[in-house]
Symmetry: C2
Subunit: 314 residues, 2 copies
């Protein structure tokens, strides 16, 4: 498939083209750059929904239910689940295969797990590019689901149009979520597994925390929705709440998207320079020699960066 054919087929919404495009992104193939260039003008229409929360909060099941709910309204869905790989399992765990089954045969749902790349920032960059692919392919809603509650995951979800934080009752998760810094990124809280004992107490304690933060007049106050993802209870209400948030932030959504674009542009600039340095500025083996000299304490990282700069910059 040439790049021109791939982009044409992608813009036509062809699932095989979507799969191929995401593989290019996951493999960090240089040809993904041309692809993004070709399709970028046709993006900006999809609504990005980020879902995060501590491990075990039932995010995957919740996302599956949310897909079904979105499909009832006739809209199309792309899902990217950020799913670390492990050498113990030999690949993505609880991956696409199981998850696809519920929506198998529905050409308007595309679910893809994305393995971590192991390098800082790479995961977030790749997630952003996958969202661009879904957007270009005409998906109305893009769901971004992250496993884990670390800084990268917070950054990924924060750049979505709406950020949903999922919490399980009675696990002390609300406190742990606060510790992990995810409370403040939530536009909507979901207390999942709400049929468990202590659900109402968890809702109250989230609301109590939220009340510490004084909201300005007209400012969105994150609601707390109870769901039981395994039965689908509360998921319709969750989608309604997402729509309410979308309407409420219609005028400010642009600035959030702008922040996302800014963050992405910074990443790309740094990455591009690094490739340039390694491919063009440094001689073969020179990077290794520099590392040797740092290890021997003959120089320091900042001096090495200075030296590289002298040679690379106009």
């Amino acid at each position: 498939m040439t790049e021109a054919t791939l982009s044409d087929r992608l813009l036509a919404g062809d699932p095989r083209a979507i799969a191929r495009a995401i593989s290019l992104i996951e493999d960090e193939s240089p040809s993904r750059v041309d692809l993004v260039r070709r399709i970028f003008a046709r993006t900006g229409n999809a609504y990005l929904v980020g879902v995060t929360g501590p491990p075990g909060a039932g995010k995957s099941t919740l996302v599956d239910r949310l897909i079904s709910e979105v499909r009832k309204s006739g809209r199309t869905v792309g899902v990217v689940a950020v799913d670390p790989t492990s050498p113990f399992s030999g690949g993505a765990i609880l991956g696409d295969r199981v998850r696809m089954q519920a929506h198998a045969g529905d050409p308007d749902v595309f679910i893809r797990s994305m393995a971590t790349r192991g390098n800082l920032g790479g995961l977030a960059r790749a997630t952003g590019e996958v969202a661009v692919v879904f957007d270009a392919a005409g998906k109305d809603i893009v769901l971004i689901e992250t496993v884990g509650v670390g800084q990268d995951e917070v950054d990924i979800v924060r750049t979505a149009d709406v950020s949903i934080v999922t919490i399980v009752p009675g696990s002390g998760d609300e406190i742990q979520a606060l510790k992990a810094g995810i409370m403040e990124i939530a536009d909507i809280f979901v207390v999942n597994k709400a049929d468990r004992e202590g659900a109402d107490r968890t809702v109250s304690s989230i609301q109590a925390m939220l009340s510490l933060h004084s909201a300005a007049d007209g400012e969105w106050r994150p609601p707390v929705i109870k769901t039981v993802a395994t039965t689908g209870e509360g998921v319709a209400e969750l989608l309604e709440t997402i729509e309410k948030f979308r309407a409420h932030t219609a005028t400010t959504q642009g600035s959030r998207r702008r922040a996302r674009a800014e963050w992405r542009l910074r990443e790309l600039i740094g990455q591009r320079f690094l490739s340039h340095v390694e491919e063009t500025v440094l001689r073969a083996g020179e990077f290794e020699q520099m590392l040797d000299r740092i290890a021997a304490r003959e120089t320091d990282p900042y001096s090495v960066v200075d030296a590289i700069f002298q040679r690379a910059i106009r």
Copy 2:
């Protein structure tokens, strides 16, 4: 305090100089660069111990106990706890104040929480620089504790000389840890709160997972240590295991440190170029204009990066 005075006092181990140096790093002050340059030749002696695990695994208490255990042998300790801030609490949560109390009055223990900077990679870079500061100040052991189990946290802990993954019994955490991709970075597993029901089952299930991964002859096989951090049970054994790992990897430690240096150098190169572009290459307001044009889909991020490159690169 001038930079020369600061570095001299830091190399002499002055706690106030350590505090000042870490503040410079946390604030991303440009003068931290000169400081690191001045002290870098005097580093490489500290042993870096990374501790991670799901929220609620009792990492802070475990680290406190580990400090006491290390101190029994007369060695000095620096601790950096990666601790996200929250606008709800107005600062680091469960921060230094509470934690310092157990070691108050011991000049050979320095504990510092580090707030997240909100930008990708910044946290890991800052953590690495704090480790350099502790190292230069003569700390024998540097403990790096992360909150959360995301990609950034995994990256931070993986670059330590030894990586400890802490898990709580009966919480299904072992499965969640696997999902979060932290199983494969563990050199040592700790099942904390081992007085809880199900501790032995958790130990077995970790061992079962480990047995799926065939170790080569002479290769380190991660042991599973049971601890009760609140009483100190098992912590002496944990320290012994750390020492065993240190001895076992004495010949390979260099390559791990080299990987850390490489990763750090890449980060610095990207970051330095970004600063150069914003401060020197672009006119005032030009970055904003580029973002406007991307938002309007008049251009795409890759074309913008190309244009910047044409102007910046020799």
